[in-house]
Symmetry: C2
Subunit: 280 residues, 2 copies
């Protein structure tokens, strides 16, 4: 009787709901690597975050991670982001990608070790940029992986570019693009600060965390972020320009400190956490 | 005057010629790994072959390598090739892929070390199969890499499959597909035997190497190959079924012993080498 009282369209609706409840988690390079030490992963943070992802019990998730001290120093050395200018860069292009593959491998193995069915998808292998922006991307494999309950894992990477020859595609741009194209409910940026402040909290003691940021009011705020080290893909300002793109398409964007234990776990579970929620 | 006496279409023709002179090199898993020892690369062979590829000075080249003792044991353990049957396989699917990523990394680093601008392309990230055969593949990135004088490197891999959920895609199938779709001039199989024999040379002392194999005569020959160990992707017979597909499309297929020094180098240079040439 119970089965009969439940019409088919309810099942369909709940399936649809489950599909729309996708979360994109961007893990910043400064969280998962020792940003000042070349090619040095932060194993402790990677292990803790893998466990938090497992414990959150989240079902539909795509992870995108940054390059930190893996991708950036080599990309900078060979000047990859501004495009192909000479033959010497060819080896540097591949070396930069290989550094990212290495970092990705550490993250995938950590996730698998916790029982998260993470599958790496190489941006270089399926994305083409045009003047630095994603121009061609086929999401069928990622959609199918999600349908099978895999957790696709992408990363900031070297990619081909129709105008520049090649370039660097930031994890932030990928995360935002995926959130828009896959109609994600939420895009969570796990960063190394507590969120977006009214000023630089290290220089200005009166700087306050903005807990709710309305995109329509953005012009009026004096936004400042504590940016450490270097980041060829744009640092915090670049990150939030990408985030705003997703916000415009109705994605809820959270900025959360991934260095502090359990914030990512709680954010994935939908529990309230200290950070910045960006909405239109 | 010289410039005027050389009409534009000649330039175009030579460009076209350069483009059609693509070579696909398949390196067998039994050549680049210790096939009987799980997860053991044959560093000596990898280094020698990287140097041979560099020394051949070949310009338009795609490399595809097999899994050997990296991909196969894990794929077998989780029964990946016959498709998705239970949730436990999800981790095994990813573990199999990661083993291939690890082997590929060793090969890429060896090639880069010799100055070959090798770029890894992950089959899992851009190919979808249907009942075990390649169903969806976009070759734009590989074409663009070749235009920029990169050497794309692919490998036998775990891929999604519209009917099976997922499966194993052999390096042989990839190599043959690329040869056909990219209109390669040659497809060279670097294997651990001298070529195709009239019988098993280890069991039958009268077995002779077939130097020229006409596909149209294939039904009449008693083909036997020395197959060692196990190969979930089909072994020698599977390999030549893939090769024959390319031959039908006009690709010249060579089977050469990649364990013997300089045979791959000479084959890449177009010099005569002992082996089997397969034609229609």
């Amino acid at each position: 009787m119970e089965r009969h009282s439940q019409p088919t369209y309810h099942t369909k609706e709940s399936k649809l709901k489950a599909k729309t409840k996708l979360t994109i988690l961007k893990l910043g390079g400064s969280v998962i690597t020792e940003k000042e030490k070349p090619l040095t992963p932060n194993y402790k943070a990677i292990k803790r975050l893998s466990r938090e992802i497992k414990e959150s019990n989240i079902k539909k998730l795509v992870i995108v991670h940054g390059g930190g001290s893996f991708g950036h120093p080599i990309a900078k050395k060979y000047d990859i982001s501004s495009g192909l200018k000479n033959e010497k860069q060819l080896l540097g292009f591949s070396e930069t990608h290989m550094a990212m593959v290495e970092l990705n491998k550490i993250i995938i193995e950590s996730l698998l070790g916790e029982g998260v069915p993470a599958v790496p998808i190489s941006p270089l292998s399926f994305i083409i940029n045009k003047s630095g922006r994603i121009w061609k991307i086929d999401l069928e494999i990622i959609r199918r992986l999600l349908d099978m309950d895999f957790v696709p894992v992408l990363y900031g990477d070297t990619v081909l570019d129709t105008d520049l020859g090649f370039t660097i595609l930031s994890g932030d741009q990928i995360a935002s693009k995926l959130a828009i194209e896959l109609k994600a409910e939420r895009l969570i940026f796990g960063v190394d600060v507590d969120g977006i402040f009214t000023g630089d909290p290290k220089l200005d003691p009166s700087a306050k965390l903005i807990e709710n940021l309305k995109l329509s009011k953005i012009e009026k705020l004096n936004l400042d972020f504590s940016v450490r080290g270097f980041d060829v893909t744009g640092g915090m300002h670049g990150k939030f320009m990408e985030a705003f793109e997703a916000v415009k398409f109705g994605v809820k964007v959270f900025v959360v400190n991934a260095r502090k234990p359990n914030l990512i776990k709680n954010a994935l579970m939908g529990l309230p956490v200290r950070g910045t929620l960006i909405e239109f």
